[in-house]
Amino acid sequence: MSHLQYFRLRISGLVQGVGFRPFVWRVAQQLKIAGEVGNDAQGVFINAYCTRATLDQFIDELKREQPPLAHIESVAIEALHEAMEPPINFHITESKKGVVKPGCVPDAATCDACLEELFDSANRRFRYPFINCTHCGPRISILREIPYDRASTSMSVFEQCSNCLTEYQEPTNRRFHAQPNACVECGPRMWVEKSGGEEIVTDDLFAFISSQLRDGKVVALKGLGGFHLVCDATHQDALTSLRQRKNRPAKPFALMVRDTDIAARYVSLEPEAEALLKSPAAPVVLLQSKGEPLPEAIAPGQNQLGLMLPYTPQHHLLLSAFETPLVMTSGNHSGAPQAIKNDVARATLSEIADFFVMHDREIVNRMDDSVLRYHNGRAFAIRLARGYAPFRVSMPEGFAEAPDLIALGAELKSTLCFIQQDQAILSQHLGDLEDAATFDAYEHTHDLYRNLYQHPSQRYVIDLHPQYLSTQFGESKADRAELTHVQHHHAHMAACMAEAGIARTRRDILGLCFDGTGFGVDETLWGAEALYGGYASVSRVGTLVSFPLVGGVQAIREPWRALVGQLHSAGLLAQFKTLPCFEDKPLRVLEHMISKQLNTPLTSSAGRLFDAVAAALGCSADRISYEGQAAIELEAFAQRATADSAPRYSFALSEQDGLYQLSTKPMWEALLQDLCSQRYTAEQIALGFHDSFADAWVELVEQVAARNPIGAVALSGGVMQNRVLADRLSAQLQRKGFSVLEHQTLPANDAGVSVGQAFVAAAQYLEN
């Protein structure tokens, strides 16, 4: 069997526009295989003339070595011919225009090879801030439409010089078909301006900026997916003025450090976390603070820091001068999306930044920094954008025939999810749709992805909430017949199932969705739900006893109101009006609002319960300045307590018509007593509440399990980002023998909702 044969291989996955063909060429050379490699509409094909044994070795090598940005999903031997004329060498076949598979790969951090050139004084790209190759650099952020070639990107205005063009055209070169290929002769340039627009003449831009940063100045830096606001993270006054000017009193700032050695001075850095920081996606990773302290103003009230490594040549050039972290926060006013255009940045950031570092490579698509949380050996996605989007979600079993559709997500942390043929594509995180510029980006991204994937569908999936702007967008796009509504928490649960690869036909999943608020089928606001079923349908089997959300959206901004609602519903308000967080608060008015049902919807929100406990314990009780602040501070409190010292609280569980309800009344009675008697510290009470809440739900799950078979418990919803809660819940459930599904690669928060919507609608379509 060791005779030579002609094999045809089909490779699918992320294999186009990532330097895959030169890579195949190189491996084939090493193994002395003759034949060819090329792109077509299905992906990459290889014709290899070799023995079966060599072929196996070839496939192994391809899978093991893959270029940094490639991802092989499958290699199939499509055909073999014995009677063909043996080829003499291995060559790369030019692809015909328009026949490559639609799609795009994410942007990638500067690769090691480019980095070496960047700092090599003999290299022609020495200190050139836009160096890149097929293994790194911008992709979707500069792309207008497919096919992905230079003319479709914002590099189209830069004509390659002859040196660059040679690289670009040479199949064996690292820059073969690297669309953003450029050098100082022909590519984009950087310059620095004063706030106000006047260009500053300097022969060393990075030295100039570095010295300004050291002086405590704030610099707006145009990067890969948007503008950052940069300041020296060790400069107290710079931090203060950045917070003031940006109107961002407390939300943590992300930091950039030159390398992982510097990172390790401030945080606990395990090898997996280090690998994540160094990955081509180069996300912000939230890590446990440890070691040298940094100013509290970076992340007030938190035990963790968000760190990232330099991911563009500019960053490397800037950070090379810093042994300490720089703040790299998004270039915007609080609430608005980060600026991507030079003129918008000048207009909106001139009161914030002292200097602007500009460049003339247009950012076409905004890409925020991605954020993951690293905790106890696992990474949890919080925001997926730069480096991850477009994000491919593998199709679980049973969805091969899913219809093409577009799921429009929620309202905050909005994302879009496209199901098309055999794939599900998640867009980058876009943000809060109420902001007009974000909504524009949302529409733009909808159009962009439809183009990138040549998505044909008119079928849209939306939330049940009638006032979500995404719901209204869907209604404007499609007729009723082509719209599917999916309940918010069902979508959360389905996203978790899809991430875990749960098959379409499973009907025995229990979803625990702990969330802010989502519109329920009974038109109240849900937010702590046990849903039993599968993709196509669920029934609600458990919830929190609902309570008044006094003042609607105002009760989300002001955690003390959540406490009023909780205590009112527990019948304890009269007794505890003297709690410190109620000082100077118009409690009488709120009581009237409850009795008159004036702007006081009912909710079973877990997020608001956590807010209420946070308020009682004095965490941002008056008002939060960023989403989830009080609950995040409560979690940080709990993390500071020692496990054996925490009190335990009980919840009352009752059942009616198959719906289990947890009442918080006994918990509040005991918790407030502990608080008032000062028998426990706020940290201990915080931990006790987390554990007790988790345990109460474990009991609820056991009750449900006594009546229904439970194949797995899926944990989803924004509140599940709380690791103290989720760890306890997960551990206790597993101890009782349940199999637990948790979000890791997809966010548990609303950024995952579009994925869940997509699979719910697809399952309903397939089963009707």
Partner: protein, 334 residues
């Protein structure tokens, strides 16, 4: 008052309360219909404006007014914002058994006073009494006729990019006053309705700029709804400046406590006008010189953007989308 009071009792009531109070030659004739001289109408313009509205409010009396004044001014204003000179009203009332005659008299008296102030006559009417529980104290429907002078073309479809958006004063007073009166909210503030007729103000504005593009009274749904209607009908985008919208401190306080947005509060004496930019200052000055427009302000502008989009520019330069509200405000935050 008793239900089903036909015949003599009802006639007495009508004689006593309505004719006595409204008192004009058309009504006094007690025919089944008012008869209006066409020639008289034609002297003022070339088109009739004709509108109708139903009034239900709880409570029926509140600081600064009652349902009767609303029923007159509401319909007068619906006529006025077309540029019309209001002329005649009809009035149909459904009374719930048990309503105090004294209260009814107060309401009818305010209708009379409001009609006089607006220069209109209530020329025909009807009254029914329904059993207790079948109504809610009093429902009033009024229909109005006015005359639109020649050459005036005010329409929600005429908003052009660049036009300025003007409001004639404090926004949200009425909505806040009603919430305060209804809920006994224990808000320690005095809030009066802004109920007032706008026909004179409209004529003053037309004098300053005969080419007003669009005007509507911002009653139910508030300024936000009117501006959305403008943007949608004209296919333009409109930007409001949060800091420019006149809202009383007390009303801000109410909004803050209740978690509601004054831009959606009902008004009963406020109009939103869209004016060519070149005339905006003149119109504004003319408005401010009239008692019904003392606190008038330019609150926004139309621009070329996503058709139908309305945004509010916040203090920090961000723009939030202000959409047309369907039903009660529900939190969208997860």
């Amino acid at each position: 008052m008793a239900h089903g009071a036909g015949g003599k009792a009802m006639r007495d009531l009508i004689e006593d309360v309505f004719v006595g109070s409204f008192d004009n030659s058309h009504l006094n004739a007690l025919e089944d219909q008012a008869r209006i001289d066409l020639a008289e109408l034609q002297r003022d313009g070339n088109r009739i404006a004709f509108t109708t509205d139903g009034y239900v409010v709880d409570p029926i009396e509140f600081l600064g007014g009652n349902i009767g004044a609303l029923a007159v001014n509401g319909t007068v204003n619906d006529l006025a914002v077309s540029g019309a000179i209001p002329k005649y009203l009809s009035c149909s009332m459904i009374l719930e058994e048990g309503l105090e005659v004294a209260q009814l008299r107060r309401i009818v008296d305010s209708m009379r006073a409001a009609a006089d102030a607006a220069g209109v006559a209530i020329v025909t009417g009807d009254t029914k009494v329904v059993p207790k529980g079948k109504g809610d104290k009093i429902f009033i429907s009024t229909t109005g006729i006015g005359v639109i002078p020649e050459g005036i073309e005010i329409s929600a479809s005429r908003v052009k990019p660049g036009d300025k958006v003007i409001v004639n004063g404090w926004v949200g007073d009425h909505g806040a006053a009603i919430l305060n009166a209804r809920g006994d909210l224990a808000l320690d503030v005095e809030l009066h309705t802004d109920c007032q007729p706008l026909h004179e103000l409209m004529q003053v504005m037309l004098k300053a700029c005969p080419d007003l593009h669009a005007v509507r009274d911002a009653s139910r749904g508030g300024v936000a709804t009117v501006v959305n209607e403008f943007a949608e009908t004209s296919g333009v985008a409109i930007r409001l400046y949060e800091n420019a919208v006149p809202v009383r401190t007390e009303v801000r306080g109410v909004c803050e406590i209740l978690g509601l947005d004054a831009l959606y509060f009902a008004n009963e004496g406020k109009l939103v006008a869209v004016v060519p930019a070149a005339d905006a200052d003149a119109v504004l000055a003319a408005m401010q010189a009239h008692p019904a427009g003392k606190e008038a302000a330019i609150i926004g502008e139309a621009y070329e953007g996503v058709a139908g989009r309305v945004v509010v520019q916040t203090g920090f330069g961000g723009e939030r989308i202000l959409d047309m509200l369907v039903g009660e405000q529900l939190p969208r935050i997860c």
